[in-house]
Every structure is written in structure tokens, then in C-alpha cells.
């Protein structure tokens, strides 16, 4: 079974530029998550999708971050404009449909972003 795929693996941009990350979850997983992991910290949930609907985006900085999952499968996370403090690893995870239950989340390898 293929795991969660993410691209690119690494990205270097200058502040105020825009960047986008792509995630393809495990086949059949209805729930998709984006996490931000700053160096020395644990991952922090940015946004959670159930199929193509947003379940929780309370910690997403909406003035500069956006995410979509148009067909309920792949997802993109965008930052525009980027700030220095956005340097982090962006992790995508997926799980079976939660519907209020706790399901195991499976993580992709992450995209490491450096903002100069």
C-alpha cells in the first residue's frame, strides 16, 4: 500500500514570495491534515479536511495561508506572502474517515521550507 506522498521535498524561497505544497493521501482515506513543524517543536495542526470540506482550520494563519482539497483526494497548501517565521517542515497526514472517532494518522515525509 502506497503511503502519503508529498512534493516538493525541499523548497527555498525569499520572504514575500509565494509557495505551494502538494499532498496525495493514502487511497481511501477521507481525512487529510496539514501540520507545521518548526525546528525543535512538535507538529502543530494547521487544517483538517474531511473529504473536500474543512473540519478545523482554527490554527491556520488565514491572512497568508490557504489550503484546498477540491476533489476530496489531493490537497495543496499555499503560503502567500511568506515570512521568515514560516521556515518549517510541512507535514501532510491522512486517516480513515473519523466521524468523531479517533483514527490512526499516517504521515508523509514532509516538505522542508526555508524562507530567506
Amino acid at each position: 500500500e502506497a503511503g502519503v506522498a508529498q512534493s516538493p521535498r525541499y523548497k527555498i524561497i525569499e520572504k514575500r514570495q509565494s509557495v505551494a505544497f502538494w499532498c496525495n493521501p493514502i487511497s481511501g482515506h477521507a481525512t487529510l491534515y496539514w501540520y507545521q513543524q518548526i525546528l525543535g517543536q512538535g507538529p502543530k495542526l494547521l487544517i483538517q479536511f474531511q473529504n473536500n470540506g474543512v473540519v478545523d482550520d482554527s490554527q491556520l494563519p488565514k491572512d497568508r495561508f490557504s489550503a484546498e482539497r477540491l476533489k476530496g483526494v489531493d490537497s495543496t497548501l499555499k503560503i502567500q506572502p511568506a515570512k521568515l517565521e514560516d521556515s518549517a517542515v510541512y507535514l501532510c497526514a491522512s486517516s480513515l474517515e473519523s466521524s468523531g472517532r479517533t483514527e490512526t494518522q499516517y504521515f508523509g515525509p514532509g516538505t522542508r521550507l526555508l524562507v530567506l
Partner: protein, 113 residues
């Protein structure tokens, strides 16, 4: 709000020695508990999880963890560490049953040969 504390930022053990990584959580009821491992440049891999039932849970790679309600702890253990276990270990909790994980800050494990 729920929180997760991993009091040890770095731990160094000799290969073959036993290991215990500490995790404490703050929540009124019994949460769902997880341990993940992250190798350099990799995503997080699930080691084990506790939802209910037997408080001693077995995971992959020879790891186990014990849920202790009275201490609000979920410590990870391994009887004999291998050099390949060197990685960062994260404890996480889901208190709402809605798959919203709160992670600790992680413990970096170094294994001396």
C-alpha cells in the same frame, strides 16, 4: 486546553541498554495516546497507540508503553536499544475523539555504540 509534556529534550543511552521516554498529559478524562518516531528527513511513523483496555500496549520495533491514569503518564519503553533507534520521539494525545492531535515537543534519542 489539553497539553503534552515530554520533559527530556535529549537522552543518550548505550546500545543494548534499556530505554524509557517520559510523557505526561493534562486532560480531565482518558485521552487517546500515541507515540510516533521521526528519523532525520522523514515523516512520523506510528510506534503504538492506546485507546482503551489493557494499559500496557505493544508496538512495533520492540517498543511498549504503559498508560498510568493516576500519574497522567504514557511512558515509552524498550528493554534493549539498537543503534537504529536513534531518532526523535513524539508523544501525542487526542482528547476530543475528533482526530485532533496535540504533540509534545519531542525527545531526541542518541545511541552510543
Amino acid at each position: 486546553a489539553q497539553s503534552v509534556t515530554q520533559p527530556d529534550i535529549h537522552i543518550t543511552v548505550s546500545e543494548g541498554a534499556s530505554l524509557e521516554l517520559r510523557c505526561n498529559y493534562s486532560y480531565g478524562a482518558t485521552p487517546y495516546l500515541f507515540w510516533y518516531v521521526q528519523s532525520p528527513g522523514q515523516g512520523l511513523q506510528l510506534l503504538l497507540k492506546y485507546f482503551s483496555g489493557d494499559t500496557l500496549v505493544q508496538g512495533i520495533k520492540g517498543f511498549e508503553a504503559e498508560f498510568k491514569r493516576s500519574q497522567s503518564s504514557f511512558n515509552l519503553r524498550k528493554p534493549s536499544v539498537h543503534w537504529s533507534d536513534a531518532a526523535e520521539y513524539f508523544c501525542a494525545v487526542d482528547t476530543g475523539g475528533g482526530n485532533k492531535l496535540t504533540f509534545g515537543t519531542g525527545t531526541q534519542l542518541k545511541v552510543e555504540l
